[in-house]
Amino acid sequence: MLVLAEQPDAQLPLRIAALAEQIRLRFGEQLIDLVPGWTSLLLHYDLSRTDHLTLAQGLTPLLEQWLGDPPLESPATLHEIPIWYAGEDLQEVARLCSLSVEQVIELHSASEYRVGAIGFAPGFAYLGELPERLVLPRRATPRTTVPAGSLAIAERQTAIYPQVSPGGWHLLGLCPWRLFEARREPPCPLALGDRVRFVAVDEQRFRDERSRQ
C-alpha cells in the first residue's frame, strides 16, 4: 500500500494514474492489480514472482522521481453526462440543505468534478468535490436497492450507480448511459482523473438517450 498524500486534491488522481502506469511498465507481470484510492495506490503483487521487500526497493527511485515531478498540465478527458434530475431524494436534499429543488440542480450541475477513485462496484466512480452547500452525511439506513444509473451524493462526493445495488447515498437523478459493460472496450468510459460535468435534461431526452444505448 502506497499512501501518497494526506488529503486528496484536484491533481492527485491524475498523478496517481500516471504513477500506476509507470509502476505497471516497470514491474509488468509481477503485479496482478493496481488499485488507486483517493490518496493511495494498492499494489496486489504475485508472490510467486516477487515480494514486498524487492518491490519496495524497485519502487523507491520511481517514487522519488514522482514526488519531484511538476504538476501535470492536464489534458484530462471531459465527460458531459446527461442527467434527468428526478431522483427520489431530490426534495429531501433540498429541504436538508435549505435550498429549492432548482437550486440543488443548479449547484450540482454547475460544478466540474474529477474522478477520484473507482471502486465499490464495477465502474462506480467517486467524483469530487461536491459544492459545500450540498454536503450531507449518508442516509441513516441504506436502501437495499438503488436503480442502475442513479446519480447520488454523500458527503463531499457524487457518483452514478452503474448497476442495481444497495446504497446509502441520496438520489438526485438518473443517467441514461451504461457506465459499465464488461464486453465493451474499455468497459468503463470514466478513468481516474477525468473531468465530469452534468447536464440537466428532461424526461424525453433521457428516454431518447437511454433507448440509443
Binding site: I32, I118, P122, R183, L192
Partner: protein
Amino acid sequence: MKGLRVLKPGPLSLLQDGGRYGWQHLGVSPAGPLDLHAAAWANRLLGNPWGTPLLEVALGDLELLAEVDTWVAVCGADTPIGIDGQTRPAWSRFAVRAGQHLKLGFVRSGQRAYLAVAGGFRASAVLGSVSTQAREELGGLHGLGGKLVAGDLLSCAPARFALAASVPWTYQPDYRATPVLRVITGGDAAEFDEDQLQAFFARSWQLSPQSDRMGARLQGEALVAPERQWSQGVASGAIQVPADGQPIILMADRQTMGGYPLLGWLHPLDLSRLAQCPAHQHLRFIAVSLSDAQDELRRFYRFFGR
C-alpha cells in the same frame, strides 16, 4: 458439446476458476473459489492446471446426469457422494460414464464442496474469467453471474484415467474441529488501542449467519475502532472493523475498495478454512508473521503450479 446435465442445482452452485484479476482498478471483484485449498486439490487430482473451471457447491444437494464418459473429483465439504446409488470417496478422482447419475447429498461437515472434471468445465470468459460474481452479474455458465439452474449443461470433453487417486489424508482438513485462524496484523493496526488489538486475539468470536461470499462477519463483544478518512484498495482476507466494532473478513466476492479501518489480514490459506465454517461457528485468532505466511503461501503456490 457434451457434458454433465444439471438435474438438481443445489441451493448455490457456482462455476469458479482462478478468479477475475486485472480489473480491480475498475471496481471489479476478483471472485473465485472461497476455499482455494480444496479447489486446488480437486483440479490437481485430475491433472488440471491451477484455476481450471470447476463447481463450488455450497451445502451440497446437487444431482448431475453424465452425457459423456469422464472423470471427476470432489474435495472440500464432506457430503455423501454417489454414482447411481453407489458411494464414491471424497478427496478422490473417479470415473463417471454417460447415462450415470452423480449425486452430492447435503453437507455433513464443512460448507462448500468442489467438483472438478478432467479438462475443466467450458464457458465463455467475461473479463478474462468464468468465475461467477452474482452481485456484479459477471461470469458463470451464461456470463451474467447466475448460479447453476436445472437444465444447464456443464460442457466438458471425454477423458479417462488408468487409476484412481486420492489426496493424502494429512491434507484433508477436519471441518468439525474448532478452527484457530492465523492473522497478520497490519493495515491500520497501529491506530487501534493496544488493548483493542489484544482483545481481538483474546476473545472468542462467532461467525454471523449474515456472512456470504463477500465477507465473513464476526459477532462478539464489540471492538473500539479508530476512524479512517479516505477509501483505499483492499485485499482478500482484510479484517475490517466498522464503527459497530464487529469485524468483517473480506472473502472472494469482496469489493475492491473500502473505507473501514483494517486490523490486519487473515492468513490467505486460512481463508479456506474459514470458508468451510457454518453460521454460529466459534472462531479464535492467533498472530502469524508476514514472512511465515508468505513462505507457506509460496510453497502452496509452487506445489499447485500457480
